[in-house]
């Protein structure tokens, strides 16, 4: 295979190291479950996991023992409830003699601003938020700052520069030029902020496909270290235009994750005992996959013009 195309196993083995700060971004859309499962499977340890909405994937990774710390802004199973495995590492009654998970908490705007500062190589990002709340007390990295141009005070957050950012996307070419449509979240900011970037895609396309529609390119291959082709790699989250969120799994995860033994049994069955995403998709079955296929709603096309 040409360019930066790699297997998930190799990409994670080479680019994710014990002790790293890892960001798997994608806001409800394009969540990198396949990559997260590979990190669990390879038994990475002592990671600091950053993500606006930890979602089920970080609940599973934290249950898999890969993390010592979590940086986040909203900790829930969207539309369903809480993240039970993570709560067991935070609430003292459940932690008991175990090791609690260290947490560093922001608001959504604060997390986005952190990635933006990181991507733009700035020492901080100012924002009009956090006034009169308890968040700066809970997290002393959120600090008030006086404007150099007026007597206004706003709040600042520090840059977030992950060692590695992993994102999932609809398509990329072999050099990692990546196109996304649908919700964009903060993937661009998180990728530019990182030392290393892994892009996981539903489809590998020719460079010509990318060049035919350059406005849709969110991440240039310039900052990408590996391209992994992994159809259905975002399941049970969704990929705009390709498959819907598998809400049944989001609902099923709640009772599973409430019980530590059931959680570990699930990880054995769906992560450790499978050798990768293709096996996971096989195990899900074609019927389940087919049921997630949306109807069609293509965009109109635009004419970029031919200038010579």
């Amino acid at each position: 295979m040409p360019g930066k195309v790699a297997t998930m196993r190799d990409a994670v083995a080479d680019l994710v190291r014990d002790g790293d700060t890892v960001a798997i971004e994608g806001f409800t859309h394009l969540i990198g479950f396949a990559a997260g499962h590979e990190i669990i499977r390879q038994r990475k340890r002592d990671l600091t996991l950053a993500r606006m909405t930890p979602d089920l994937i970080y609940d599973q990774m934290i249950a898999g023992g890969v993390a010592r710390k979590l940086i986040f802004s909203w900790l829930g199973n969207p539309g369903v409830g809480g993240l039970n495995a993570i709560r067991r590492r935070i609430e003292p009654a459940a932690v008991g003699d175990g090791t609690p998970l260290e947490i560093e908490e922001y608001s959504h705007f604060g997390m986005v601003a952190r990635y933006t500062a990181g991507a733009a190589n700035l020492p901080f990002m100012p924002l009009r938020s956090y006034f009169e709340t308890d968040l700066p007390k809970a997290n002393p990295l959120i600090r008030p700052i006086r404007s150099p141009y007026s007597d206004e005070t706003v709040y600042a957050v520090p840059p977030l520069n992950p060692d590695v950012t992993i994102i999932h996307a609809q398509r990329a070419d072999a050099n990692g030029n990546t196109q996304i449509w649908g919700l964009l979240g903060c993937q661009k900011e998180a990728a530019f902020a990182a030392d290393r970037a892994i892009v996981v895609v539903e489809e590998l396309v020719d460079e010509a496909v990318i060049r035919a529609d350059p406005n849709r390119t969110v991440i240039p291959g310039l900052i990408v270290d590996a391209v992994v082709v992994q159809p259905y790699g975002a399941h049970p989250s969704y990929v705009q235009g390709a498959y819907d969120r598998d809400n049944r799994f989001y609902l099923d995860w709640d009772p599973i994750s409430r019980d530590e033994e059931k959680t570990q049994a699930w990880l054995r069955e769906w992560v450790y005992d499978l050798d990768g995403r293709a096996a996971y998709v096989d195990k899900l079955g074609t019927e389940r996959i087919a049921s997630l296929r949306p109807g069609s709603a293509p965009s109109g096309s635009v004419d970029y013009g031919d200038y010579r």
Binding site: F72, R87, E91, F109
Partner: protein
Amino acid sequence: MSEPFSKSEMMIVAAARELAGQHVCFVGVGLPNIAVNLAKRTVAPDLELVYEAGVFGARPARLPLSIGDPTIVTGATAVVSMFELFAFYLQRGLIDVGFLGAAQIDRFGNLNSTVIGDYAAPKTRLPGSGGACEIAINARNVFVIMRQSTRSFVERIDFRTSPGNLGGAEQAEAIRRAGGWNGRGPSVVVTDLGIWHFDEAGEMRLDFLHPGATLDEVRATIAWEPRISPSLATTPAPTAVELRLVREELDPEGVYTK
């Protein structure tokens, strides 16, 4: 004689009606999601739905399962990055109404969605702010939708995630002006029992009691002695049209309305 309806249905319908006359609304997860989508189909057809996931002018064809559902993208006016959404739309001051829920609220409309108990050693770890903190500060008006109980309508919240009228209207107004907030604070709290607005002191005042609810119930589900409007009225019951939209179009499986 109107059809029978559940408390949740009344709450959703009352919240939707409060959106009459509003233009740009930031939609939250859960109950706000269905209330806003009902308003769009009834009292506020021109309402622009903004989702924090990065959508302006959403036209969801089904009730979104989460605030990031793909149905909010298809047919929308614009999809933007979350930085743009929070910086250019919210912080710039373009949002008229932000809808919030919470685990705890106090008499001045300050909200907690972070922890029950001590932050460092919580009894219950809740989801946290998400966008709630900056929505409370920068949406021009904040609508709150919550079920009443003494566990949630408390004398003192355990953590202030989203500022309301702080310790009272006068103090809150001065702080908002000095800090350059776009927001004017909470304007309504819709519960399963009634509709609360905020009086001159910045404290919640019950203006409408839902049909079937009693003042005894209201007092039994709130941890402070509540202010009751001298001209307390009964919320008009949900109409057949509103109930049909909720039951058949917006929440056919009864996820939010049971």
